[in-house]
Amino acid sequence: MLKYITSFLLLSSFAMLGQVSMEAQDSIALPKDQKYGIRVGIDISKPVQSIFDNQNKGIEITADYRIKPNLFIAAEMGATDRTSQEDYFNFTTKGAYIKAGINLNAYKNWLDMQNEIFVGLRYGFSSFSHTINSITPNQHGSYFSGESITDPINYDNLSAHWAEFIFGIKAETFNNLFIGFSVSLKGVLSQTEPENFKNLYIPGVSSVNLNNNGVGFNYTLSYLIPFKKKNK
């Protein structure tokens, strides 16, 4: 079901992209100066989430650099400390990750506007650990009751590599200040499999489903430090 919803959303997004560029062709494009520089930002959704859910702490900083009028190299770095409560157990994942890749802006701006509707690709690497805090064994019936088993089990030095497809928007609200939103679909390429457990959560990928995929979303606030202006 999820697959269909996701593909439907992706398709409709592409349809929208097409529409945008067609409309842009009708307009008169005036040559204007374009800013080039490094843009740095943070994902504001993660600290906000930490306030409401103190079991779920995370931070992510983002950076991108424009190399061609519509092409940016982009990277994200982040860290996670998250406790997940499942039906029969509870575990904590801690780790850090880095992602690098490109964004392609598909939106034709008017004049000197710098808005973006972009698609991007990333390669991600994460290094992390899990701690199983407690287990309630899954058993038939309820003849016995007792405390959950609370001898922590540690899985250290785990890592994962993944590829990511991103779709998002960025809008310049004030001079050089951008707000952005993006959705990403991730596919785990390789991972260290813990013995007698599974990487149910990977920092940078978030919850990993049965097909080794994950979905992420970012709300970013970023600032462009312009180095130079180029006529596009």
Binding site: P137, N138, F144, I149, S207
Partner: protein, 158 residues
Amino acid sequence: MASKIIFMKRILILLVSALLAIASCETDEICDQTIQPTPNLVITFYDIDNPETRKEVIGFSAKLLESQEVITTTDTDSIQLPLDVFNLTTSYQFLEGETVDDIKLTYTSEQIFMSQSCGYRTQFNNLENISTSNWIQKISVEETTINDQKTEHVKIYH
């Protein structure tokens, strides 16, 4: 200006669809009820005079010693009983009619991961037993590792 409004509209549509996408991504995996969780102990009853032959216990019942909870009452030649996953011993009273035998099972336990929604099941290792001998003549532990319910773990001769 018109372009800016169109752009903002598109942003709104994107945000809404993205939120919907996220909402549909919450873990929806439910533990499949056909999975085998922690196995029960499989006990079969044999004839002491003819050790190859199964023999029914007439008026059998199994009671947990501590809670006095009756697990089963039936005429049977095999039963499946749960072991306490929170402790390393489980004590039962086995009755043939009014005759009582106490049986104390000791073991070590190990948690085996199944899946996110089903969690862990317990595997019991090093199974041993101590019992009284009123109607039970002999107990033989066939499997010291309890990992499934497909094999006979304990044979009781009477």
